[in-house]
Symmetry: D2
Subunit: 384 residues, 4 copies
């Protein structure tokens, strides 16, 4: 675990990075919510600050006085133990406090946390570290949420220029792994979320993993072959989802004069923004399947050198539902609401994306979203 | 009708007043939409400008070039004849163009309209005048919409200080009118919307009208007497509406330590923000009824000196459905969509409110809203 | 008003006619509800009986004992004053009591009502008469509701053979009426609902009425001319309704090999099953309008000999919203809920249909439905 | 596998049992659908027959002629490969064909299947056997669906008298199992669904299983202790589900004069009709957890003699999401839609219930329902 000095340094870096991500956005951009699943940038800025104020400062600061007492409920996301919370779907109605006030809130809490840091005990330092990982998650959400907001605007504003994937990808190969007992889950002293443990044994049959992710061009082949019109390729819920929405292609794709066009759409580029339903249907069409999370983690640990795009491109849907590891127990107190209570009706994603901060990536990391979610940077690695 | 000079003067005044109304609001306040019925301030600012650009400049300006071609669809409200329109419920997602750009849009169009004005023919001047009345309607909506947005914010920001009604109102009296044929509808040369004509005869039975509006204190008596729990007082649709929402009092009222509290809640103050359902139920409870719009207009013309709060306090629900007058024909072209197409499932309101610009008030004016609407400044004048 | 003997005779006839209407239906047909607006045949059979049991027998029969105490809530439609009621949308879940039990319920109440009839005072006899008119309304609803249920069945069962309109209709002509004061509303001693009075004066401008209803062929011309794709013909609410449903033709029409096919679709046949929205749009397209209810009633009284299909073909949408006549007061007691509480968001229909019992037809009759309703036998008579 | 003679015998028994289950129901009872998840009895009777007609008779019978060509779509449940299907939520609108016709359909298909049986090859006999297991599933659904329908009727009809649990249950004990590699999945030659294989190895940590199910009295203790008001006990989705419905107790429970009353509610009786959310929350409150399906199956195989109520009382929610076993492949053809396409957003239940036919029970059986489902006979066995 990081000591107080290291943590102080890390704190400054993470907090500054959030501000840098918000810098290209106007107060208006930062206030609006484009769907209940997404949150305004301003809310991300404030909620990550609320985490430190509520869990670190409030119980430890002498003569604690909140920056603004109303923020306690206003910027609570889902912690029932903390009390009231502003309804999720109404986060975009909070034109006040303005962005300026939220930035002042950040500065105030930063100063107080950094002042307090040297005097914190081990448990409190662990909370600060948790808060920074929490903030890094919101950094990624900030980007996916603003991408969604901008996609709703007919003017199609861009957050930044798209990456260019000029060169064709290497041919897809299969990396094989033999059957046997494997250990998965977080090991060692570094930080991990509670849901990454306990480390435990699983029996894995022999399997192979694709060495890279599926590309846009490969997925376009699935569409052109009638993939969205063939019920036999889809899970029943996926077929219903697709038909209820009239969906015939991934989110953010649209047919242009030169075929499929996305913000960054080049055939070479890795496919992104697919739901689990789409990933599962594509895999079936391709005569393959999605890996389980145990397969993915075992392969990443023991065959990682052969696997490209492991954690810097797209989160990779696994065939595993998000469930507790054997012996899992939620943490004490409000932070115990962090992970455990979401363990139903979600699928696990592994790896990391272009939007994931490098210091936030771990091979044992268990990201999770409902099977219909597609506004995250989510792609496909095949298994068989 | 106003000549070009008068119109030029009026144009400057109306357009400046809209800016003054928006002045207390931040870019964030101006961008957010709190419900599908309401629009962001920024949208009001842009849409009223779009009206002049689309209906006045585009067909008449030499080498017309739009300020931004995308605005044609973006700020179209409901004119099908103009083409595409941005979905009403998504007006709040337009963080771009920013408030600054919209203000520049206003300045640009203003300059071009004023330059063109001297050369416009009669029909075109009439369109400009219509556009200014249109803008005055949006001035009132801007205020009611921002009031609703702020009401959704737990911090309860205030747009401006509430009016104080220190003195008790005069006792409610009844002004009587004899039966007979009356003429209603707009007369003379001044401006009026198409729906205010043709002027026509109606037969009115004898009736009486209350000399003032119902007060908050009087309405609180209705609540205290169980008015919201007695189905026999309500229209069936009103009873369903009330129960679906768990409504037990007018919008913006809440029970505080000292009884009912509203932003401006004093017993003496006139009741506002009631739906037609509430107005109708109150009238029934009070042993009275709501006036028809013909009664209201006839009384306003012939007994106006005895009637207080006629057009400067609250719009007054009438018992009349919004329907065409005999012989009504919609105007030619896109502006024909202004009024006629809404003539079903709406009730007529007469008078004017604290938020209605004085030059926008007419005794023949037919305002209209669905029976459930209560975010406008809507009150009750009794009849019997 | 009918005396006890006449009423006894009328009672037997009306009650027997309801049974005759239900005779072609199985217990299964009679139990199912195809949409919240419609009710199962069994419910109609029971509810009309409940009316007599609750309003006639219960307050007057010595040692009154209900046939089944649970029926009081089970078969209450919307009378809040009577107490609890079974939710409207769940009428189709009542497989018990079975049809046999409901028929026994009818027989039991019939016997008791007929036994009591000779001893009833004037007010009670009036209630029985009201109950019979109430039952006649449900006779028509029984037919429209079973037609809707059968239309949901891919097997397309038929209630009875369709009428044949072999001969072409007479040419549409216009019957003219001069301007002047007219009296409308029920007159005389015969039965009428409370909403048909008080009789009162209205001023009518000069107008003309079509001598017959619009035919299927004429309406097909409107469709073929793009009527359902031209927003300028429709009320805004109608256009939204049409697009939300993807509606491109009247209810029960479908494109077949030989063009439009309906159960009874022949070009000569009068158009039926259109909403107010469709009637209003057709009239606009045809360069005409719908009559007001005052115009319709005045014409029916004074030019009836020239007007065909007045009350035996389809109910005719008028341009009048359903509102109280001047001086209208609801009746005392629960039966006061019969008409008055529906006076908002409904349009008036006049005349009568093929499904209306002949003794239920009156020129002053005010039928009413929401503007979107189209499962009734509703057609179009033009005015100008 | 059963030979043709055995199968013929089994066929007669299973088909007769379905009729026996439907015998207490009227045609009306058999036609109505109380919610989209449930189906009318008549539909169950017809759909199980459709299975034999479509999958067994149609491809094999010489000069096959359907009983009624329209039934092919009408009684298809969810087999996209078979073609059109009647919408699930509208199964209750099919008053025709009547119950009598459906019974004739059954008799006709039975005669033809039995005549054909002696000449069928191995693959076809396997299809008949599958069809009988399919029918046994619908036997249980028929009972749960009719129980739900009757629960919607204020008259509270009973299908049959409730079982009496007079004696207190044995004390709950814990049966322990050591860690190690286990094999789960179907073994041997008997019938099993495709989703029960392939048999495969899993590593199980040491665990204990409760020897009996949770009782009504135990669950009432959870309610009385505030279990439905303590968010910390619930999965987030479960908490939302509970609050959206205002749920404070299991389905079919209601507070009576003598405390909780259910159709069969005695403290000694095993708890039934709980959702996964409720089972999971109860387990957390009780300081335990739900077993995984691998634990359950291993325990049932190796410690079954100590485990009561294994498969004859209630299906038991497991902590396992419904996912394919390693190496799972769906069957060829339409029957491949039987299980695989539902493998997302469902939880596995193990065992069997009072409503499960004895010949339908297997220790490898994988039942599955969404986490919110509670109209099945679903209970709780704790693990730790």
């Amino acid at each position: 675990m990081l000591n107080a000095d290291q943590l102080s340094q890390h704190y400054r870096q993470v907090r500054a990075h959030t501000l840098a991500l918000a810098a290209p956005l106007s107060g208006e951009d930062a206030s609006v919510q484009s769907m209940p699943d997404a949150s305004p940038t301003k809310w991300h800025l404030a909620h990550t600050t609320w985490f430190f104020e509520t869990f670190v400062l409030e119980p430890r600061e002498e003569r604690f006085k909140p920056f603004d007492a109303a923020f306690r409920a206003l910027f609570n996301s889902y912690y029932n133990a903390v009390g009231e919370k502003h309804p999720r779907a109404q986060r975009g109605l909070l034109t006040r406090p303005g962005l300026d006030t939220v930035l002042a809130y950040r500065a105030d809490v930063d100063e107080r946390v950094l002042r307090l840091l040297a005097r914190l005990d081990h448990a409190a330092l662990a909370l600060v570290e948790l808060g920074l990982h929490h903030e890094q998650q919101h950094q990624e959400l900030l980007l996916t949420d603003i991408k969604h907001l901008f996609s709703c605007n007919p003017l199609q504003p861009a957050y930044r220029e798209a990456a260019v994937y000029a060169a064709p990808p290497k041919p897809l190969q299969w990396q094989a792994f033999a059957e046997g007992l494997a250990e998965i889950g977080h090991a060692g002293n570094g930080f991990a979320y509670d849901n990454e443990g306990p480390r435990h044994r699983v029996f894995l049959p022999a399997y192979s993993l694709a060495t890279r992710l599926v590309t846009n061009a490969e997925y376009a082949g699935f569409i052109d072959a009638g993939g969205y019109r063939d019920a036999s390729l889809w899970l029943a819920d996926g077929w219903d989802w697709l038909r209820a929405q009239g969906r015939g292609h991934p989110l953010y794709w649209h047919q242009g004069d030169r075929g499929w066009e996305e913000f960054t759409l080049e055939g070479h580029a890795p496919l992104s923004h697919v739901s689990y339903f789409e990933a599962d249907a594509y895999a079936r069409w391709a005569g393959a399947r999605l890996p389980t999370e145990a397969e993915w983690e075992h392969a990443a640990l023991h065959g990682g050198e052969h696997l490209q795009q492991l954690d810097d491109t797209c989160w990779q849907w696994t065939a595993s539902a998000y469930l507790p590891y054997p012996g899992f127990r939620v943490s004490e107190g409000a932070v115990g609401e962090y992970n455990g209570k979401f363990m139903v009706n979600q699928m696990v994603l592994r790896g990391g994306s272009v939007a994931t901060p490098r210091s936030h990536v771990r091979l044992s990391y268990r990201n999770f979203f409902p099977a219909s979610a597609c506004w995250q940077f989510t792609g496909i690695r095949l298994a068989r």
